[in-house]
Subunit: 390 residues, 3 copies
């Protein structure tokens, strides 16, 4: 997901002597024939969709060498719905609860990443819309990179409630701060720390302060932060992360509803590259607390998987599980087995296929690729596609 | 419409030895002073609009040589409303009946074309949002290229019902699959077949299957396909095409209504280049059938036109006609005569003007350039503009 | 705001011998930590926002040399909300009263400028969405360039009514034609007139003509025009401008209301570069007249400011005032003092900070950086940010 794809040779108009500068136009167009089989008596679906292997995207980024080890850089990257021509997704202008951003074919926004940075040998300060620290362990230590029908349950379950909206751990009616946060200020450790890496982030809800202003019952809604620390050396890589976002209003702009409560998540992940296979896994524990409506809700999940190089290709396999512990005592749980193969036609272009099978228990109704599952029934997903990057 | 406009010299980051690769940023900015005269007693309008000669657009495309004759490529192209700064049009995420995408100043989407392809000496497989096979004969064999006030009636009449929404041959409340389809998989013949060319397409409605899922009464709505075959040699070019899209629900997402019924269209077009003039024409037959509401509706139209090179410019002329045969027996009909001149300042920049006159009969109320026409009255359109491509 | 930032080396596909042509991808990513302090008892706010020094943007522009001194060019530039990844703002497709374009995270539109031009030694004809002639004197002769917490009151007061919507001089429910107009045709004087420069513009409301068409009560709503003339020589620069936009309906598309009345504005501005400081100022007089609802409303404002170079940086200071004269006799008035410093790390990258203080009188409630002010109380704004251009 972080490949440097195409570098446009550019001349800085300023013409400064120190300018080893570049602007890069980059992107991925990934088209997927996706089939989702619902459980018996429920509905299946066939689609041409996108991002079965890597997230489709288009972006602009660049770096300016300021001299003395200092550099300024920017990164603007938006989603691409190349199956139907949509770009971006309408996004909430902020992180608050209740902000809804319907994806109705709206236009290009830099919803994947939109940042400006200043960096030096002391690290990097980055401001804008960026990934949360906790997201990284779920996607890096997932053989399917949180894309396609094989995506780890540990990523999709907290927001989706395992197919039952009432079980969701982030408030209904919001995209929530799970993968990314807007209005974020982050600090990243420099690369030269002997394998230690890390970041700390703070994102703002941007609400009015002073409770006596009409209609504003909360000043912290959508505000949060997180931290991630890891260590990589040779074949070994491990990292842990924690994040919390406050949700303390029940309705914003008349949109929402649903239970409130801060969302807290922490996880740990790691991998070992044995050469013939890269084995990886992660564990995550999520919590929505302080709810006035239905008490705490907890979620716990894990993944174990592997990447096996085979000639010009790669076999991918993963088993993931997620269980939600509702205040009612119910414990919906889903387990998923995913198996896939990627065949590289070049560094930029690959054909791929994935098959995944989900087993639902305890009130879970998670289904794959747009199918519908009856509670406690199973679902199967199948992807066949092409990924082309530029 | 398919010019290669600007090639940015790029270096593929992968640096593969086989990489004869490029990414192209391209576009057209076409501004038009457009006047539409309504019939007596009805309303006229003057606007600064766009796309009077060529459709305004902005896009990114590229090709990667994979070796052995194989290539991967992508094409992302969106509409441009350069008169007011809008880009793209909000588009339905799918092809289904009832999906409405209001054009209210939303942002850049790749609504004109959004595809990824794999091609070889066996042809090309293309996936995403693309033109229908039937559209090509209407635009290639129209001297006005289906742009501006001279656009052939055979393109605009089926969706617009000749100015009376109830007469439309595609369902009300949908953009319909006339010019383009989303979620499309196409196969194109290779170029080396001695002048024979062709394509076959299949587009998906992406509905849930299994009738016993609540609220889903149809599984085929928006699904369709088509085929086009042609032959070009020397001054001669002819092609025929057929397409069908299923519409079998009356409301989707509470948006719509209107009559249902599959939309079927076929057409044939051709041209002969006499040197001093390129003469062209086409015939189209459209049908909305299987309607539970008001029986079959048929539409038939044709065009005869010519392009006459004159120094650095070109004279354009066309006569087109379209007649709708309603189930009620009524037969609204419109005829249009269009005359224009394009003066090329360079290969990229042209000045142009077009005047068109429409005659309405039998209940038709078609009007030009945003004017309004009383039923069976006439309308006149005038364009004056500049087309600049990059 | 008009720097040429990056020129991509391009090869015109047309390959014309005369083609000294280029396409430029350019942009600014400006991130601001912005704090706004409300008055006692009212609400303050802290945000990560954008455009505290220069407006964040992304754009494409290019020029084609047509030979003989003639050139064609285009300019497509959209807003960038880099703090949350939004791009553009949904914009009304037209200039009419009542057209509302909610900024709800929609996608990239070329709302800042979207034009195509033909130019020669006789000047330039430009068509599309462009700045009004009157805007230029407010932004050029403001040390803060109408960006950030120090933005001159003379720009923001007419539309915002000094914090009280009922006081606004442009109709409620419209973005109004203050900074830019869509559907605009402009003529600009050539550069070789011995220091004299100027432009004249006409923008269209694009309404239907003929009063007897149902639902259309006005044919001129949103139509307007303006003119600007200036003279610059050595350290001296002065310019005057006038513009008027007609608003003569009370509701369009059921969106609006509010008072009607044409909006007229004129202003004069100038600066003198003393070397150690560039001193500048401007005066503006606005008027909403012919109102059937509440009579004329007038607004008057002025600014005096300076830019002082200090090593690699620049100190900025300005005092601005705006007073609204309501038909009721009330006269809300605000005064603002702003002080800032910009430190250039390079020509492309700068760090900056600004502090501003507003004093409200006579019913004014203007507040800075998203804070809220009680009527006749004060507000303070503080910006700290980084501007990176490409």
């Amino acid at each position: 997901m972080k490949k440097s794809l195409i570098a446009l040779a550019v001349m800085a108009a300023a013409g400064a002597a120190s300018a080893q500068s570049s602007v890069t136009l980059f992107g991925i167009v990934d088209a997927t024939i996706a089939y989702g089989k619902g459980s018996d008596g429920a509905a299946s679906k066939t689609q041409l969709t996108n991002s079965g292997y890597n997230s489709s995207r288009i972006g602009f980024r660049g770096t300016e060498d300021l001299g003395g080890g200092l550099a300024a850089s920017f990164w603007l990257e938006g989603s691409l719905g190349n199956d139907d021509g949509t770009a971006g997704q309408r996004i909430p202008v902020g992180n608050q609860n209740g902000l809804q951003a319907p994806n109705d074919g709206a236009g290009l926004v830099f919803n994947r990443r939109s940042t400006v940075s200043l960096s030096g040998n002391w690290g990097e300060i980055r401001m804008g819309r960026d990934y949360t620290p906790t997201f990284w362990n779920l996607t890096i230590f997932d053989p399917f990179g949180t894309n396609g029908t094989g995506t780890t349950l540990t990523l999709v379950a907290p927001a989706g409630g395992l197919g039952v909206a009432a079980n969701a751990l982030v408030p209904v009616g919001t995209r929530g701060v799970i993968v990314r946060a807007s209005n974020d200020i982050g600090y990243f450790l420099p690369a030269n720390l002997g394998g230690i890496y890390g970041q700390i982030n703070y994102w703002m809800g941007e609400n009015l302060r002073n409770a006596n202003v009409s209609g504003v019952s909360s000043k912290n809604d959508g505000t949060g932060g997180g931290v991630r620390v890891g260590y990589g050396a040779g074949p070994f890589n491990v990292a842990a992360a924690w994040a919390k976002t406050k949700y303390d209003v029940t309705a914003v702009n008349g949109v929402f509803g649903g239970p409130t409560g801060d969302f807290t998540t922490w996880n740990i992940g790691g991998q070992w590259d044995f050469g013939m296979a890269k084995v990886m896994g992660h564990y995550t524990a999520d919590k929505r607390g302080n709810s006035a409506f239905n008490g705490d809700t907890d979620g716990k999940g894990w993944l174990l998987g592997a990447l096996v190089p085979v000639g010009a290709g790669e076999i991918r396999a993963a088993f993931s599980e997620y269980k939600i512990e509702l205040a009612s005592g119910a414990e919906p749980k889903a387990q998923q087995l995913a198996l896939g193969y990627v065949h590289n036609l070049s560094k930029r272009t690959a054909l791929y296929t994935t098959v995944a099978r989900v087993k639902n228990e305890g009130g879970s109704a998670f289904a794959l690729n747009g199918a519908q599952a009856v509670v406690n029934n199973n679902s199967t997903g199948f992807d066949l596609g092409i990924r082309h990057s530029f």
